[in-house]
Amino acid sequence: MSGEQLLWDAVRNSDVKGLEALYKQYNEALYSYGKKFTGDTHLVEDAVQETFISIWKYRERLSVTSMFNLYIFKSFRNHLFRLIKEQQNIAYQEDDLSFSFELGFDARFIEGEEAAMLSAQIRQALSRLTSRQREIIWFRFFEGRSFEEIAEIMDMQVRATYKLSARALASLKEIMEGPALLLLLSFLKN
């Protein structure tokens, strides 16, 4: 029996302590994931709250096992998207969303101008991808999630995540081999 399963059972037994422990375990990660879709702090906070309130509301019907971690991210993602849609109050498509994140490096390996350049280059390459592609890259590269997990959270077929990620990598490569890389090359030669 994993620790998380115990917390989860506690929630099903209407023990609010279990919910609180889950909240403490996940709220930071959800918040930081949400902030990559929108700068609106309140919207993200609302989505976190709604996620936990709905877990409580439907606790008796939930049959989550080892997938809890994915379920909570998926549920949060849905709540957040609905709130964003309500706020924009216009016809909305998932493609309109812009998932974005900033990069950092360990200063012991790279710093100053070199770090700024590398980060600018990767940022520029990422900015040419679609929001979904960036989201997949973030989950895969920085969160270390498997394609199966990403597919579950983003509600898509596993094969589609492979394809999207391969396409993302291919366009990254194309972009980096293009003018940006030439510029970098000439810069480094000086």
Binding site: A10, Q25, T41
Partner: protein
């Protein structure tokens, strides 16, 4: 990986670190990748240092995380609690531990119980909190060996043990100076984070000063590099003396003399075009003085110089000299200033 190893012949470490295939291999090594890069090194043995460095850079790369403050987290939990449909607080307190104890007894799994209790109550336990009195400069050594100096009337809070893989986090009220101990190179993901007032500081191996008083927070860098975040905004400090200030929802950056923000560690006040109002605020906040001034026009005056705080009489003489005023002490902590 369908390209020839020769493609990478003239790549520098930086270029390698930006190459998607190299990145993917570093993050998710597989047999094909290993074979390819081994082949590359056999063909171009002089590129070994570049590959090593590129690997270090790529492994150390992380996506910056925007985190909720402790206050935010607590407030959000309160809102959730208030919105739960059948108010759990009104429910009979059914402790989960009691409900499932028979199962454990049957399994005689005492160890499991201990782990479960630890998991459930972990977030509230094992916290260390250290505070300093007025005028006291206190040294604190964190679990990872990082050295912290606390200025007077300040406190620091952190967890007794830091898990590998999660960030090293501390919370500061008042003012503190950090000399962060770098982590072993195989553990580059263990960032150091300081939360103070409304700001979060993400540290990239470094020393810096952080201060939060009267709703204003600032971070001054001494060495290395830090990322300061507040209210969704970010500022990177990368050279000594860079100061980020968060005041009234604005995060601004400027350059200041380093000693103005670090001299308190030697119990000295370094002033450089500091307003008298700011000096008095410091005397009240850090040293616990209560200052009584009959002529408020003095407050806008700018002063420069160094005051040794170890001796109260020196402070009083210095104030008299700087302000051209009669300065007298009443009781332990009241200073009365009357302009000449």
């Amino acid at each position: 990986m369908k390209r020839s190893v020769h493609y990478y012949a003239s790549f520098t470490a930086i270029q390698l670190a930006a190459d998607p295939y190299f990145l993917e291999w570093v993050r998710f090594p597989d047999a094909a990748g290993n074979q390819f890069w081994e082949q590359f090194l056999l063909t171009y043995p002089h590129k070994t240092t570049d590959i090593t460095r590129a690997g270090e850079i790529a492994r150390s790369m992380y996506a910056l995380a925007d985190k909720p403050s402790v206050q935010q987290q607590e407030d959000n939990w309160k809102r959730i609690l208030a919105a739960l449909p059948d108010t759990p607080l009104a429910l009979p307190r059914r402790s989960m531990l009691r409900t499932i104890r028979p199962l454990w007894t049957a399994a005689a799994a005492v160890a499991v119980a201990a782990v479960a209790v630890w998991l459930i109550f972990r977030p509230v336990s094992k916290e260390v909190s250290i505070a300093s009195g007025y005028g006291e400069v206190k040294g604190v050594s964190l679990p990872d060996g990082t050295q912290v100096k606390l200025n007077g009337n300040s406190s620091i809070r952190y967890s007794e043990q830091w898990k590998t893989g999660s960030p090293r986090e501390v919370w500061v009220e008042g003012e503190a100076f950090f000399d962060v101990k770098p982590v072993a190179s195989n553990n580059a993901s263990q960032r150091f984070e300081v939360h103070s007032g409304d700001i979060d500081v993400q540290v990239l191996g470094t020393s810096f000063n952080v201060r939060s008083r009267r709703g204003i927070s600032d971070v001054m860098l001494t060495t290395g590099k830090v990322m300061v975040a507040a209210d969704g905004k970010q500022q990177l400090l990368s050279s000594p003396g860079e100061l980020a200030t968060f005041n009234q929802k604005k995060l601004e950056k400027k350059v200041v003399p380093v000693t103005n923000y670090t001299s308190w560690q030697e119990q000295k006040l370094q002033l450089e075009q500091t307003s008298v109002a700011d000096l008095f605020a410091r005397l009240e906040d850090d040293w616990g003085y209560n200052i009584q001034l009959s002529d408020t026009s003095l407050l806008h005056k700018k002063i420069s110089g160094e005051i040794d705080m170890k001796d109260k009489q020196v402070l009083i003489n210095a104030l008299a000299l700087i302000l051209h005023a009669d300065v007298s002490q009443q009781g332990e902590s009241t200073i009365i200033i009357t302009p000449n």
